[in-house]
Amino acid sequence: MTGILVLEQSLNGLQFGLMLFLLAAGLTLVFGIMDMINLAHGSLYMVGAYLIAAAALASGSFWLGLAAGVAGTALFGVLLETTVLRRLYERDHLSQVLGTFAILLMCNEGVRWIWGSQPMTLNPPPALSGPVELLPGFSYPAFRLLVIGVGLLVAAGLWALVTRTRLGMQVRAGASDREMALAMGVNVRRLFTAVFGLGAALCAVAGGMLGPLLAVQVGMGENILILAFVVIVIGGIGSVRGAFIGALLIGVIDTAARALLPPLLERLAGPAAASDVAPALASILIYVLMAAVLFWKPQGLFPSHG
């Protein structure tokens, strides 16, 4: 039975890590190419989830909702970039932090204004709300399998985009050396807008996948945003490959810690310690990991800057 437990927890970790990757990929590209700290990235995830939920409710179909929501969020991201964020590229980090923090506040309140304070329900497609028998005696939720599938598909698509297309080449060039890329004739403005829109779309996909598992509520992006930042610092700012490895690492470690620490602590220090300390310890572990990586490889595991 322990084998099944390990398998199930591994799948959970993989699922979480892949969703973290979707968020981190957009964040690392924006940071790497535009050198901008974007605290509003979590808001794109929240807006995406809300748009998908609203569209799914209106159309009655999860898939239609997903498509509409992703498109809508990409549009929202492009709008945000061209109007406000563009002015922050040349500014210092403090201005970027505070400017995007302001956008975070406005998005939270805007969402509350439009959809109210109560969380919205986003249900998985009825066909996928039941279990799938992976092994005799072990059924895994079909929807989580979908999330894993979508995550892997998007990762593959991103890899193809970054390594096999012209846009991808410009992205890599911009991440590696922006001035040179400019000198070589890259249309920087359009590139930035495209990258931002792509990041927004990725956030929306993550929102649509995680919404049914968690909750579509105001402020849902903030906790996961911090984790995404940790991922890109570990993985290396500007590197999609780094974001992938970092996200999987964090996903697996976080899930493993939450699964293994409580029984361990219970054996060592009793049930109270297990419920009080274990969740905190699991979170602290992630930050310790980040500090350790920064100590040994200050540029992250896969730095993109030459």
Partner: protein
């Protein structure tokens, strides 16, 4: 009593307006009582406390040039020390308050020693990470309330004659502490230490080339800022009678950063101005709409885009 050798790095106290402000603040409690608005004395106290916290952040941020995203940790450390000591039976302010400041200072020393070895965005991320770690530690310690926080059984005991439970007395004590702290910061900034710190902000390489021990100066500033943050925390926990881990989380650090930029990064009165603007806006707007944070975000965005040096920069003479 002008400073013997003034320089562009000096920050004038502007004695006359400062004394007028101080006098107005001293008579405020009686004024509010006459107007029947006693409740707002609590708000005034909070403005002073957050003004102190924001000024302490301004010390490293505005004058030191370090974007610390974990400053709330030091405010929280000060608050928690007082609360924990009170739970363990120590109610005397003469023991608890210095202890709290010491704890904040030691914490700042530890965090600073590691963080200051990094630069730029990594510094931001690491200060954030340490603050989050402290947050998680406090949520897990059920003995100290965990996520639900800790209530103070009574206010800290200062002296028989000084009852901190009386709002007016507490306000005047807070005013005294904040004024002293403020004066201390001003003197510090105009002394060699402050000049060096600002020089490091302007051009670190040059300062290092001249021979200033960059790391040591920055660490000293970080520790001082942390200690002052701890003072603010001590006052805060006495004012609200309650402390919870949410005082430590990154939202709170972001709020402090927001106050500093609203008031003026690198301006002596920036922290105080920013705290006043923020808390008054909150009190005013929340009466009108539950969506006041939207307006706050708008104001912040406007300030960032249009007046990046904050409100005080409008006053700066060319």
């Amino acid at each position: 009593m002008a400073d013997p050798v003034s320089s562009p790095l000096d920050h004038r106290l502007r004695k006359v307006p400062a004394l007028v402000l101080l006098a107005a603040l001293v008579v405020l409690p009686w004024g509010l009582q006459a107007a029947g608005q006693d409740f707002y004395l609590g708000l005034a106290t909070r403005i002073l406390i957050f003004g102190l916290a924001a000024t302490s952040l301004n010390l490293v941020l505005g004058f030191g040039g370090l974007v610390s995203f974990g400053h709330a940790a030091f405010v929280g450390a000060g608050a928690y020390t007082v609360a924990v000591l009170m739970q363990d039976g120590v109610a005397s302010a003469w023991i608890a308050w210095p202890a709290a400041v010491a704890v904040s200072a030691v914490l700042a020393a530890a965090i600073g020693a590691i963080s200051l070895r990094t630069r730029g965005v990594y510094f931001i991320m690491i200060t954030l990470a340490f603050a989050q770690m402290l947050y998680y530690v406090m949520t897990s310690l059920k003995a100290y309330g965990g996520e639900d926080g800790l209530s103070l059984m009574s206010k800290s005991f200062v002296a028989e004659a000084v009852d901190l439970g009386d709002e007016r007395t507490f306000y005047l004590l807070t005013l005294a502490v904040c004024a002293l702290a403020f004066l201390f910061v001003q003197r510090l900034l105009n002394a060699r230490f402050g000049h060096t710190l600002q020089g490091l902000r302007e051009n670190e390489t040059r300062m290092a080339a001249i021979g200033f021990p960059v790391f040591r100066y920055r660490l000293a500033a970080f520790v001082l800022a942390g200690a002052l943050g701890g003072v603010a925390g001590v006052l805060l926990v006495n004012q609200s009678g309650f402390v919870s881990p949410s005082l430590l989380d990154w939202h709170q650090s972001g709020l402090l950063l927001m106050m500093v930029i609203l008031g003026g990064v690198g301006h002596l009165y920036g922290g105080l101005a920013g705290a006043a603007i923020f808390l008054l806006l909150e009190e005013l707007l929340s009466g009108y709409t539950t969506h006041w944070k939207f307006v706050l975000g708008l104001v912040l965005l406007a300030v960032v885009l249009l007046a990046p040096n904050g409100v005080m920069s409008f006053r700066r003479r060319r």
